[in-house]
Subunit: 224 residues, 2 copies
């Protein structure tokens, strides 16, 4: 009768993720199993597993016998993440060549409408979420399974910085216009143009992200 309950490590990973993204756990700081155990009321197994799940999502790093830490950042790292994301998102759009894009375009237009709604309502959280939805719709439609994990990883890695940006109210809405251009090109079957705009769409934000990363990083602890 009750919905099949998702295992503790997954729910735990989401909660820890939020703490990382919102900056409560600083980049480079140690995540000690005992602390997390008592903080979240779970036992060792699930805690370790949650940390491994977060490693899979790019938010933690682990060194044997040294434990887990929040992934450390530098401005240079952020640049590498954004450039890589640009390349991969472009690749995902290019891989749409030869497909019937009508169903995808319909969903993208719907997403754009919702995003516009969030924009006029000043719902920044919803706006950001809809932004992620747009890119996820494309990725899902490609059906490119090997591409999913790397892209999700890079997106998660960039999420703390995006949150820092949000807190400063920067970058209010180049996104929506870009998304509408991309959707338009896809609707017209001009895939390569859509891919080019997608790449630029991501690279455009790099400067702001680099400005925000300084905010986000205080103690780095960039151990080799």
């Amino acid at each position: 009768m009750s919905a099949p309950q998702t295992p503790i490590p997954y729910r735990l990973a989401d909660r820890i993720r939020d703490a990382i993204v919102t900056g409560r756990y600083r980049p480079g700081s140690a995540l000690r199993e005992q602390s997390l155990e008592s903080e979240y009321g779970a036992s060792r197994g699930p805690v370790r597993e949650a940390l491994r799940l977060l490693e899979l999502r790019g938010l933690t790093v682990h060194e044997p016998r040294r434990g887990f830490r929040v992934r450390p950042y530098t401005a240079h790292t952020i640049e590498q993440i954004y450039r890589l994301r640009a390349v991969l998102e472009r690749h995902s759009v290019e891989s749409l060549i030869g497909r019937d894009l009508a169903p995808l375009v319909a969903r993208l237009e719907e997403s754009n409408r919702r995003m516009r709604g969030c924009f006029v309502a000043r719902d920044l959280a919803g706006y950001l979420q809809e932004n992620n939805t747009f890119h996820r719709l494309i990725l899902d439609f490609t059906g490119n399974e090997p591409l999913r994990r790397p892209l999700e990883m890079l997106n998660e890695m960039a999420e703390p910085v995006r949150y820092a940006l949000l807190a400063r109210r920067l970058s209010k809405s180049r996104s929506l216009a870009d998304h509408e251009r991309i959707t338009g090109f896809l609707a017209a079957g001009q895939i390569l143009d859509a891919a080019r705009v997608t790449e630029a769409h991501i690279l455009d934000r790099l400067p702001m992200a680099q400005a925000a990363v300084a905010e986000y990083c205080r103690q780095s602890g960039t151990a080799p």
Copy 2:
């Protein structure tokens, strides 16, 4: 006094990895904790962690309450993996722009010499390993940390197919010639040419990989 030993899950993951790559565990087949426990003489904790480590390397997949399975493959998946690897390796070479490549070139030439040695000695295993070394040398030199995990993942995913190819003695040595061309371009500072050849170097092998994947896949178990 004793050497600092690497934790059990890591050694265990390597052993299970070998069994997957060599085809002893078929793609899509279930990896049950109890079986692995008794087979390798470790207890459930380390076994579960080893399976998570392999998920991080792209060799296993996990569904909550259903357990771990060897990652299933299709010919289509292999194509996606190779195309993605081509894009990423190209990106890694392109990111060398503006660096002093002398130290890298020296190491690459050394690797090429070793590879030639393996070739004349008909040491196929060493040849394959040296092949991986070449690409790893470039990746390490870029210092692009966010790029490392995705590329290693895709490489590991392709490893079972590569092994199947090796078993059939196919594709004996376009690699060495390609590597020497790439090294030459890098030595001459022609990065973009090196990047182009790198991309082609990987895409060239796609047809053979697709031929081999049929060999490797017998029972797929491609559960949604």
